[in-house]
C-alpha cells in the first residue's frame, strides 16, 4: 500500500468526485421529472401517447447505457441538421451528452417504478376522492401521488444508486469523473489498488448517503400515515 500515492492523487480524485456528483445530481433531478412524465404517459388513455412512451421505455431498458451514450455523443453529430440546430452547442459537449443519456436512461427505469406506484394505490381511495367531488388534478395531488410516492421510495432509492454507478460511463466519452480519474492514475502509475480503493470508498459513501436519505424519508412518511 503506497500512502504517498494516495496523498498525491487525492486532489485529482476529489475533482473527479465533484464531477461525478454534478452528473448524478443533474441527471437525477431531470430524471425524476421525466420519470413522472413517463409514468403518466404510459398510463394515458390516449393510445398513441401510451404506445410511444412504452416504446421509449422499452428501447432504453433493453439496450446498454453505453450504446445510448455513444449514440448521443458520437451518433447525433453525424447529421448536418443536428449540427445546424440550436441544441448543437449543448450536444457537442460530452458533459451535456452524458447528462442527457443518464436522464433518458433513468427516466425510463424510474418511469416504470412510478407507474407501478400509481397503480398500487387502492381503487377505493380514488372512488372516495371522486365521491367527494375532487377534480382529477386535486385527486392526483392529494390522494394518488402522495401514496404512490411512499410506495416507490425504496425502489426509487435503488434506481438512484444505479444512476451513481451509471455516471461512471461518462468516462468513456472523455469526461474525467471519478472512474476516469482513477483509470488515468492507474494507467500512469500501474498501481491500481490504491486509487481504486479511494474511488470505491467514495462510491460506497455516496450510496450510503442515498440509502440513509431514503430511509429517513420513509420514516417521515410512515409517521404521516399513522396520524
Amino acid at each position: 500500500m503506497d500512502l504517498t500515492l494516495i496523498q498525491t492523487s487525492l486532489p485529482q480524485l476529489a475533482a473527479g468526485a465533484v464531477l461525478t456528483l454534478e452528473l448524478v445530481l443533474l441527471s437525477l433531478a431531470a430524471g425524476i421529472v421525466l420519470a413522472v412524465a413517463t409514468a403518466f404517459g404510459r398510463l394515458s388513455r390516449l393510445r398513441p401517447l401510451s404506445l410511444l412512451v412504452g416504446a421509449y421505455v422499452f428501447v432504453f431498458r433493453s439496450t446498454p447505457l453505453l450504446v445510448q451514450i455513444f449514440l448521443i455523443y458520437y451518433g447525433l453529430g453525424q447529421f448536418e441538421a443536428v449540427r445546424a440546430s440550436l441544441v448543437w452547442p449543448l450536444l457537442r459537449e460530452p458533459y451535456w451528452c452524458a447528462i442527457l443519456a443518464l436522464t433518458l436512461n433513468t427516466g425510463a427505469y424510474g418511469g416504470e417504478i412510478i407507474r407501478g406506484g400509481i397503480l398500487s394505490v387502492p381503487f377505493g381511495q380514488i372512488e372516495a376522492a371522486r365521491a367527494l367531488g375532487m377534480a382529477p388534478g386535486l385527486m392526483y395531488r392529494r390522494i394518488i401521488l402522495p401514496q404512490a410516492f411512499r410506495q416507490v421510495l425504496p425502489a426509487y432509492g435503488n434506481e438512484m444508486i444505479q444512476v451513481v454507478q451509471a455516471s461512471s460511463l461518462a468516462s468513456t466519452i472523455t469526461l474525467m469523473e471519478l472512474t476516469g480519474v482513477a483509470r488515468a492514475i492507474a494507467a500512469r502509475t500501474y498501481q491500481p489498488l490504491e486509487v481504486f480503493l479511494v474511488a470505491g470508498a467514495f462510491y460506497l459513501l455516496l450510496n450510503l448517503v442515498i440509502a440513509q436519505g431514503v430511509r429517513l424519508a420513509e420514516r417521515r412518511l410512515a409517521r404521516e400515515t399513522r396520524r
Binding site: F58, P64, V67, S168, L169
Partner: protein, 236 residues
Amino acid sequence: MLDLLQFGDSGWGDEILRGAGMTLVVAVLAYGIGLVLGSLSAAATLAGGLLLRGAAAVYTTVVRGVPALLVIWLLFFGGGSAATWAAGLFGFSGRVDLSPFVIGVLAVGLVSGAYAAEVIRGAVQAVPAGQLEAARALGMQRGLILRRILVPLALRYALPGLSNVWQMTLKDTSLIMVTGLAELMRVSFVASGSTRQPFLFYIAAAVIFMLLTTGSELLFHRAERRAARGVRRAGA
C-alpha cells in the same frame, strides 16, 4: 449507407455478427461464473461461520456498490499482478498476463455474482421450512435434500430475479469494450471510426442488444412457467 452493413469484404456485417457472438459468449460465461459465485456467497451467508458470512457481506456490498466499469479497470490494471502472485503460490515464477477476454469474463462475472447472491439467498429463504423438515423426516441425506427439494423449490422463486441479473450481465458486457476485446460495442466503435457513420453502427448495436435482451427474456419466461408447472393458481 446501409451497404456498410453487408457481409463480406465491403461491409461490416460479418464483423458485427462475430462481435455479437463474442458478446453472447462473454455474457454466458460471466453469468455462469456469477451463478457459481452467487450460490457460494448465498451459502456462506445462510450457513457459514462469522468469517464466511462477513466475507460474503463485504463481497456483495462492495461489488454492488461500485460501478462495474471500476471493477473492469481494476482487473485490467491489477489482474495480471494478482494472477502472477497467485501463480507464485503454486511455484510458478514467470509473469502471468490476463487476456482482455479473461479480464472481461472475470469482471462481469464478479459483478453478476454479487447481484445473483442476493437473489439466491432470498429464494432459498423463501422455501418453506416444512419442506426441508419433511425431507429430513423421510431420512433424506443432505445431498439428496439439496438436489430433490431445496434447489427445485428455490429455483422457482429465484428465476424472475435471476432473469434480471442475466439482463444486467448481458448489458454490462458492453463495458468490456474498454479492454479492447472485439465484442459488439468495440466492433461498432471501430467500424464507426473508419466509416464516419457512428449513428448507423450504434443503432445496429442497439438493435442487436434489443434482440438479445428480448429473446432471452422470452426464454426465461418459458423457464419460469416450466418451473411453476406444479403450482396451482386460482382460476387456472
